[in-house]
């Protein structure tokens, strides 16, 4: 039996970690993810888990220690935000190229500068090409659910890639919401024991990892790594299906909200989707055919499926909570537009930058986006495809 509770997103993640009882958790605090290791440290002190909790001197070290633990054969993780994630940039690539199952709980926060501690996606978007799987959550329930599913995806022998489970700083990490928690036993059985195939502490197999890959090997290594990423989508679906069986909640690459007959759609990541759904409900009441797609799995990017879900749409607005300074829009915008192009979609697409550094996005903002899309349809022209939402003009 699941239990109903009220937890913040950080508490939910720490609770899921307690239920998983991983082997090694090297930690370095940074707002707004600090509560994850902080709460977990309490579980360690209380003897509720037998995880080796290591306080290290930086995020470069926390990621490096997690990598080393995973290479040794342990189930490892760490947590971070913003500049902490940026400081991990180098070892992130080591984790993925060494094909190490590993978990990183990301609480999204703007990158400096100006200095800002609030939510946007510039941190995890900045490492979207590091070879990690990325899952995003709309609310605390999804943060918890993604966490429970993460190791099963990461440790799958066809995958063996590290995974980031992201949630929005403060908006979900610190806001307390109703949540349904699985029984300890159910989580334990679902996640299972970690049995690595090759690992450094195996006394019966001499091996080394982290080798020097000169030009004779590097490209083959990267192509093999890409193959592992190609294997991710089917594993994500398979794990999502198993998770549904124990929780009743279903997870795929993205969530389609009232998309069946929609002629205008918004594509968005994270907590803003909840606000967007409110706007959809409001506009649907007045007969407008609008829908929303919330991307859960951003890396690998489900391009074909997403283009398929947008098939009947006349106009689509992609909302990015990160700049990429291409003068064309944000990273999600670029990915969605490329997907539409490849699918020879006739949909007109525009890209908005919103919510930077914790700027609120409201139902009214979403309503304006749908109104803009109506104009795009009327004019049969996307107009300026690189727009800002919620900025003072």
């Amino acid at each position: 039996m699941a239990t109903k509770d009220r937890l913040s997103g950080n508490e939910a993640v720490a609770f899921a970690l307690k239920q998983i009882n991983p082997d090694v958790f090297p930690a370095f605090p940074i707002t707004p993810s600090t509560e994850i290791p902080q709460n977990f440290a309490t579980y360690v002190s209380n003897g509720e888990v037998d995880t080796e909790f290591i306080t290290v001197e930086s995020e470069h070290s926390s990621m490096s220690a997690a990598i080393a633990a995973s290479a040794a054969g342990a189930r490892a993780l760490t947590a971070t935000s913003s500049c902490g994630l940026a400081y991990m940039f180098e070892p992130l690539y080591i984790a993925s190229s060494d094909r190490l199952p590993l978990l990183l709980a990301v609480v999204n926060r703007a990158l400096t500068g100006p200095i800002n501690i609030n939510c946007d996606h510039s941190d995890s978007m900045g490492v979207r090409e590091s070879g990690w799987i990325q899952l995003y959550a709309e609310n605390n329930q999804e943060a918890y659910d993604n966490l429970v599913q993460a190791y099963r995806i990461s440790e799958n022998p066809a995958v063996r890639l590290p995974i980031m489970v992201c949630q929005d700083g403060f908006i979900t990490s610190h806001a307390v919401q109703n949540i349904e928690l699985l029984e300890d036993e159910a989580v334990k059985n679902f996640v299972g024991e970690y049995e690595p195939e090759h690992y450094l502490l195996n006394r019966d197999e001499v091996m080394a990892i982290g080798s020097y890959g000169v030009s004779d090997y590097y490209m083959e290594a990267k192509r093999a790594q890409a193959e592992a990423m190609l294997n991710v989508p089917s594993v994500v679906l398979e794990v999502g299906k198993d998770f549904e069986a124990i929780s009743g909640r279903s997870y795929g690459f993205f969530e389609e909200y009232k998309m069946e007959d929609a002629d205008r759609a918004v594509v968005v990541i994270g907590s803003a989707a909840g606000t967007g759904k409110d706007a959809v409900d409001m506009l649907r009441e007045s007969g407008e055919k609008v829908g929303l797609i919330k991307v859960r799995m951003y890396r690998p990017f489900p391009a074909e499926a997403l283009a398929g879900a947008l098939k009947g749409v006349k106009a689509v607005a992609v909302l990015d909570r990160a700049e990429s300074y291409t003068n064309c829009g944000g990273p999600l915008g670029a990915d969605v537009m490329a997907a539409l192009f490849r699918a020879r979609s006739q949909a007109l697409a525009v890209n908005y930058i919103y919510g930077l550094g914790g700027r609120d996005i409201t139902v009214k903002d979403f309503a304006k986006v749908y109104e803009d899309l109506a104009e795009v349809v009327r004019n049969d022209s996307a107009g300026d495809t690189y727009r800002y939402l919620g900025v003072r003009e």
């Binding site: 190229s97 090759h198 080394a208 090997y217 083959e220 290594a221 193959e227």
Partner: protein, 99 residues
């Protein structure tokens, strides 16, 4: 066997070890870093008193020792750094450019 094949340098992406993991130990022996050297030290056996001071200072373990006596250099791994030249009290190691 072709050296490149022996070292796996012709491996395809489907065959390459996952995560470029190295299976087995002591594999650095297979990597002839001695190829990097431009100038090499030479061992003047008649001047050598077998004090073995040169052995521990070699950063590449390229001075083999057998029955408490040093042998000639392992040129497959000697990078020609010249540290051994400086360590020898008897002028038994010579290398161009090092006094």
């Amino acid at each position: 066997m072709d050296r490149a094949v022996e070292l796996g340098a012709r491996v395809t992406w489907r065959e390459i070890n996952e995560g470029t993991m190295v299976t087995g130990g002591g594999t650095s022996r297979e990597f002839n870093t001695g190829e990097w050297a431009v100038i090499k030290p030479t061992f003047e056996a008649d001047k050598c008193r077998q004090c073995l001071l040169c052995v521990p200072v070699c950063p590449d373990s390229s001075i083999p020792v057998k029955d408490m006596k040093r042998l000639d250099f392992d040129y497959d791994h000697c990078k020609g750094c010249g540290i051994c030249v400086k360590s020898c009290p008897f002028g038994a190691i010579e290398m161009e450019g090092i006094e």
